[in-house]
Symmetry: C2
Subunit: 428 residues, 2 copies
């Protein structure tokens, strides 16, 4: 039997503790499956004296993750600290420079520095694996990189932030507004320290950027993801979308067309009866489409100790089995720069606006839409007690450019209060 | 760059042609992703002169797949002929004996001879890969073997025969009976040459046996799968199950408990609103449950040229990338023999029976169930014009042993016509 594979684990939060637990519980199972003993040599975290509910006896301790990354008795550096820069990045760079393989759950670090780190790893013959960085326990990085390797990937979609999906589905289920459910999610510990990472779509955007790089052979370009959070979604939008057979999801979509790479993480309407429409609570779902495979849908827990640690362990097991795949599925030097593309594919849109209660107001809206080339599929005006009437329009397929033109037109009139809420309707 | 990886493809039916097509279309993409050229050296099929819609120029021809498997210029033998024995098995054995890796879509061969072939391959240092044998384009073998390698797998479930699911969902949608839709499926070419492979649950049972082996580290034991086809499912069952919020699916379930290995592929009721309940037409769905990952659901096309060829190519790409994993996820010699277990977990059951229209008949049924320890959750008697009344019962959780006792009791009375249709209700 080969030498044991020796792990150094930096970060003993929820995920780190989960990894230690699996290692203690399933040492034999992992050995049977990978043909190799896998052991933890040393660990590192911010505070040593803390009851984490799991024994750390038998592991060396390092205060400094960089020192852990440098240890001669560590083969794989498991980075579970988080943070796009700072100690996590410094330690990963150190591990790579020492020729060690890296397993990480750090989507922010890879979304911002993935190209640089992948190049560095390849120069040293090391691999970086990050199954746990995207969609928690769902083995989606593996499915995309290896399972669909024979496909030209045509589209990647997904609901990849459980907190946002929790808030949106609870709004629907309870009839409470965004603010109340934001507070509920906060009390339940579902929000990141900076909640904008969740509700602003940034965390999900990181994940989408990583999948897009693998899918399309392009350099990770998180800065080119069109981001819109869920903060503007009102209970009105939720209930009215539901009236028409839709659900609102914070949906990531990435595709590469002749016009370039389109990446967006924005609230969208999806059919209520579609797999994405029925996704409740903190569960994640990723849809992968390829020219041969058609469509694969993967669903599972997007966060939590067990699922995320499961993903970390699959990367560790792969390394123990001798599986070595380029970080983003092909050599980093061969990843392309792709021009940014707006929404390449026309789609129907949902528009909600507050109309002044004046004669001819609705006609004016219809005229402006018509002049912009936006044709109306369905329109509903709701009963109202105020001076403004909620109006809801579903357009036929149109482009975001045409919608922008219409919005500019609306601004020049006096019949609409503020800008319309405009949400793309994504077919599945 | 390393030497090209040279394929010999045996079988040029739908899947074989699909593989050739991908190889011709995506040679460059595959080279970028795997770091190696992948080429087809030679092909074999029953008839040479046949327009398959794809050019075979540039490939050597072999009439005999065994001769193809023996060629010195073939590194990977791609077996797409089918059939559990005969030429497919002979050719695979030849390839392995020559130390070649094997990629196959042949679930029947592996379900019956998987242990023997895995042992032979390992003795020669060769690998056998079979992503295409289970659930078409869904990368479920990879997800289970690699993606969940850190989990003790607790349950595997799935709808893995698209033809059965097509017939069942069309019965529901059109109100036509089983026979009419069997004929429709036949006309559409959805049925195997021996239709019992589909509607008898055998094909799906093969797939379940393969997944169970990986999941639980047990020797493939297809002969121990409890098999029941969909032929007894009537339109009555479909509509009455629907009345109660259920759908009927040919559902595979495998789990390993202290009592042994349970494997069944039988029609079951599942909640209409669950992911499995909403699975329509020929789509497949596999549910994987593990002690850390909780539950992963994978959904995709279960058959067809593109999806199945996609799965074949993922195995080929893995081999080109140097990924070498034991056939069933751990060395064949370490796979255990597990005792057979009946349904280890009690479940509610759906019972449909035709009751004689006699006073006290329903009371007698209730008494017999009570004596067997089966308690009733819901009972409905339907209006009827005949001498018999359809009665439908949903039990509380019970065991199959208790149900067998009740059925024996029913047989001793004269109030029920025939045996009840009894379908397990599977929670998700």
């Amino acid at each position: 039997m080969p030498q044991p594979l020796r792990l150094g684990i930096a970060g003993l939060g929820t995920v780190g503790v989960g990894v230690v637990r699996i290692m203690r519980k399933h040492a034999k199972l992992l050995q049977q499956r990978t043909g190799r003993d896998i052991v933890i040599t040393a660990v590192s975290a911010r505070t040593r004296d803390k009851d984490r509910g799991v024994s750390l006896s038998g592991y060396e301790w390092e205060d400094d993750p960089v020192a852990l990354a440098r240890r001669g008795d560590v083969d794989v550096f498991v980075e579970l600290m988080g943070g796009s820069d700072g100690p996590a990045k410094a330690a990963v760079e150190t591990a790579i420079a020492a020729g060690k393989d890296v397993v990480t759950a750090n989507k922010a670090m890879l979304a911002l520095h993935g190209q640089h780190l992948a190049e560095a790893a390849e120069a040293e013959g090391a691999v970086i694996r990050f199954e746990a960085a995207v969609a928690g326990g769902i083995p989606v990085v593996k499915a995309l990189t290896e399972g669909l390797a024979g496909n030209e990937i045509t589209r990647v979609m997904g609901v990849m932030n459980g907190t946002c999906n929790y808030i949106l589905t609870r709004m629907q289920a309870t009839g409470q507004g965004y603010n109340a459910l934001f507070e509920e999610a906060d009390k339940l510990g579902y929000l990141e320290a900076d909640p904008n990472l969740d509700v602003g779509g940034i965390d999900a955007g990181h994940k989408l950027a990583l999948l897009a790089s693998i899918a399309f052979g392009t350099k990770v370009s998180f800065d080119k993801v069109v981001l819109e959070g869920i903060q503007r979604i009102s209970l009105d939008d939720i209930t009215r979308a539901a009236d028409m057979g839709f659900r609102i999801k914070l949906l990531g979509v990435a595709q590469l067309t002749a016009r370039g790479l389109e990446q967006r993480m924005t609230p969208c309407l999806v059919p209520a009866l579609s797999p994405l429409g029925q996704l409740e609570g903190g569960t994640n779902m990723v849809v992968l489409e390829g020219d041969s495979v058609e469509q694969i849908v993967l669903r599972g827990p997007g966060a939590g100790e067990g699922p995320t640690a499961s993903a970390v362990m699959s990367d560790v097991a792969d390394i123990a089995r001798g599986i070595r795949v380029s970080t983003f599925g092909q050599p980093a030097a061969s990843l392309k720069d792709a021009p940014v593309s707006g929404s390449a594919v026309p789609a129907p849109y949902y528009l909600r606006m507050e109309l002044q209660d004046k004669p001819g107001a609705l006609a004016k809206v219809a005229t402006i839409l018509g002049e912009a080339g936006v044709s109306i599929d369905r329109m509903r005006q709701y009963g109202h007690a105020d001076a403004t009437a909620p109006v809801l329009i579903v357009t036929h397929k149109t482009t975001s450019a045409a919608l922008d033109q219409a919005t500019a037109g609306f601004r020049k009139t006096d019949v609409i209060v503020g800008d319309p809420v405009s949400l793309r309707i994504e077919a599945l």
